[in-house]
């Protein structure tokens, strides 16, 4: 490990003599830094998207899975009796942690957005709602439905899976797309750096031929190029990452009303994740340039 780090340090510090062998190039250098920066900036957003949709999927499957609703639609005179019967069934159902009929105030609160605050709920034939909370194991929804249809004909069980499942699937898919984007961004960065390195190697064909003639080994020649491009990728990715993180930080936070969604951003220790982008960018630059350099050198005598 120490050897590894000392080698990395030596690589970053570099060999001043070897570094002078390749003439400085302003334009391709700036292009490489720019490409690495842009890609890192985009990677920060793709990462934020992946983490946010991950949180969303977790929350939906977590919160929604544990609560379901039983609706008693019965004539007013049978409502109380059927509610009591349904509660008895629920109490004896394995997997149900608790069941509680919503009182009038709660039911009114649910209807308020649609009918206004002054609705006389008690005079309307609206169904009674029972909130069912599952325990960790969960209950068998089909079995419960069968028992309820036998004992409480007016009961309808809504376990939310019907509309929850596609949402969770969508969130999971979105998360996958986020990771795929990060992969594509990395590959694009590798392609851009390879092109830049290829151009630099072609522009310096004479330098390479001279070095080869006076007895420089391939590794020595490659290192002069690889070191430069790795440092450029690192610099660009660092700038891009910082800019991306600042942009994410400045995003307006999700409002309470949109609470079922989730803010696009990083939460808590997730802020560490984007910090991995610059070293990864440097690694991509290193591998891409190294490959390009050795491929070019193999073609020379």
């Amino acid at each position: 490990m120490t050897l590894f780090f000392s080698r990395i340090t030596a690589f970053v510090v570099g060999d001043v003599q070897a570094d002078r062998m390749v003439p400085p190039t302003g334009f391709t250098a700036r292009l490489t830094v720019f490409a690495a920066g842009t890609m890192a900036f985009l990677a920060v957003f793709a990462l934020a998207l992946s983490l946010a949709t991950g949180r969303l999927a977790d929350r939906w499957s977590d919160e929604l899975a544990r609560a379901s609703t039983l609706r008693i639609s019965a004539p007013m005179d049978q409502r109380a009796a059927q509610t009591a019967a349904a509660l008895r069934v629920l109490e004896t159902t394995p997997g149900v942690a608790s069941a509680r009929p919503l009182d009038e105030a709660e039911q009114r609160a649910l209807l308020e957005p649609w009918f206004g605050p002054d609705l006389p709920v008690e005079t309307l034939p609206i169904p009674q709602l029972i909130e069912v909370i599952e325990d960790a194991e969960g209950y068998d929804a089909e079995g419960l439905r069968l028992r309820l249809s036998a004992e409480v004909p007016g009961a309808v069980l809504d376990d939310h899976t019907r509309w929850r499942r596609p949402l969770v699937t969508a969130a999971d898919r979105l998360r996958l797309l986020g990771w795929l984007s990060i992969g594509l961004i990395g590959a694009t960065m590798a392609a851009m750096i390879t092109l830049a390195a290829q151009a630099a190697l072609a522009a310096n064909a004479q330098v390479i031929a001279v070095l080869r003639l006076v007895g420089a080994r391939d590794a020595y020649i490659a290192r002069a190029f690889v070191r430069r491009f790795t440092l450029r990728a690192l610099t660009g990715a660092a700038i891009g990452t910082v800019a991306g993180m600042v942009a994410v930080l400045l995003l307006p936070s999700a409002q309470v009303e949109a609470g079922f969604l989730t803010g696009l951003g990083f939460q808590g220790w997730h802020w560490i994740w984007p910090l991995a982008i610059p070293p990864l960018g440097a690694l991509v630059g290193f591998a891409a340039t190294r490959q390009a350099a050795h491929r070019t050198l193999r073609e020379l005598s």
Partner: protein, 225 residues
Amino acid sequence: MIELEQVAMSYGGGELLGDISLTLSPGSFHFLTGPSGSGKTTFLKLCYGALLPTAGHIRLFDTDLRAMSRDDVALTRRRIGVVHQDVKFLDHLPVADNVALPLIVAGRDRTEEAQNLTELLSWVGLSNRADALPAELSGGERQRAALARAVIMSPEVILADEPTGNIDWEMSQRLLQLLVELNRMGKTIMIATHDMNLIRAAKTKVQARVLRISQRRLQTAGADL
């Protein structure tokens, strides 16, 4: 040092050189002549491992060229100094750095060799041009800088391809004198040239063998030169 055994070289179907056998022994001085396009440059490239022969065997310092890795070839080139007619430098570095280039790529400490470099530059008469860029040098100065670069590692063999092709007679004489001095120090020298005057001038100073490439074969030229 350099041995060629029944070497043949073909490009794209046509044979350029064939059935060439030669041993360069330490301290020998060879001229290589032949018409333009006869394969002098190819012959020299074979001698420093820039080309692989299509047939036969080449041994550099007792190692078969075919058995050598790219790194082996690189290390061997530190023992063979090469001077080209159209010599290439690193154009962004001053003459002193270009001459010291073989030391730098070999990872030698330049400060230890500073004395050596100064002496070498004064030997080729470029002391006052040490800080100039290669583009600012005249043809003769470039050739002398190339020679200095070729010998700074103290190689055992020096191969020169038309070293006097671009320079006037006086400068050619000076360059030849430097090569003769190197030969007296025990270096093996091979100069490819079609300049007969240069060969005649050399023969008065050193015992040189003249090889001629004619109709794809290597012949020892007679004493008529």
